[in-house]
């Protein structure tokens, strides 16, 4: 297990502090990685790695590539037998998308809803 965090500089959501990637990773069940990406260029802006599995790093690469090549849908969930890759474009900044990669669990809908909520949070 590894934990490498670059703290995002973000302020409040309706007065409350916007969670960092580390906090997002803590909240989303079985989270393996959380990242902000720039979909147009497939650039990873910052990431928080919970689990250093090379398959997770590869999954992030593929997710950003999918975002770049597929006219960048605002919401996307990719399912494999082992992993869930959740992509949600930031509501207030279309140049950023939140990517969260989790291990498969029964809480899929909950994880997707959380990621959406975090990506929709207003950065002030």
């Amino acid at each position: 297990m590894t934990a490498a965090t670059t703290a995002p500089v973000m302020a409040g959501v309706d007065g409350a502090a916007m969670p960092s990637l580390a906090e997002i990773a803590d909240h989303v069940p079985r989270c393996l990685l959380a990242a902000w990406v720039e979909p147009r260029t497939a650039t990873v802006l910052e990431q928080h790695v919970v689990h250093g599995d090379p398959r997770v790093a590869l999954a992030l690469d593929v997710t950003t590539e999918v975002m770049r090549s597929s006219e960048r849908p605002p919401r996307m969930v990719l399912l494999s037998a082992d992993h869930v890759l959740i992509v949600q474009r930031a509501a207030h900044d279309p140049q950023r998308a939140l990517v969260v990669i989790c291990a498969r669990s029964a809480n899929l809908g909950f994880a997707v809803a959380l990621v959406r909520m975090f990506a929709d949070a207003r950065v002030t």
């Binding site: 999918v66 037998a81 809908g109």
Partner: protein, 267 residues
Amino acid sequence: MATVPVTLEVLQMLEQVPANECGALVRQRTDGTMAGALLVEHGRVCWAMSDRYPRRLTDLLVAESDTLTREQINEVFALCRRDRVPLGETLVARGLVSLPVLHRVLFRHTCEALDCLLREDSELWTWVEHSGYGYHPMLTFSTAELLTGIHALEHPTIAARALATLGAALGPEQRGFAIQRTRDARLPLAQIGCEDLDLVEFADLATQANDVMTTASTVAIEVVVAMIGERACASWVEDDLLFLILCDGELAFNRLLAQVATLTRRP
């Protein structure tokens, strides 16, 4: 089988016919003779004819029905010709054939005749306007239906498999289609409820889903759910078939996600 670009060319031309007009797209050979025509009413095809197409509607109807005879059809045909009313609707109104059977037979006839017509070398198409009959919408066909039907003629076994898989996967108020992925093209082989998608939408959805699945499959992704425009779209691949389920509405994404999650859940 007509080539894919030719099929698309004609169907795109059909979509450019003004939505409220009725008439015929007539195909002429270079020597001036008529190869055949498509009758079009309000953007939908009512009938296709080709002088290369050997089957008659009567043959197909009799083959599909246990009780209908040629004599009965000929009698109704004469009546329809005299009174200038549509044959199909009259057969249904008299209880000689059911609407689903007539729909199936007309669809087959239209696709096969159109396929023959598209194989003509000529590029000359002429639009001839005329007044419409007011056909039952179920007895006319959209470009999406025809495109799928023509490709299914060439691959009947795979098309039947695609349709069965799609039918089993669709939930209430959902629609979808299946695409055969070949090296050079993506051919629609089956659709349920997608009759009213125009060809551009059809192609865009297929292209986006195919691009995503091609990239995502490198990390063993089996199903993708995405918002494309205003609709939620789930896609997955089985052998060389790409399936798409479309779902509209406020909670479409979540409903679709819950539905397709079971496709990849480990026992």
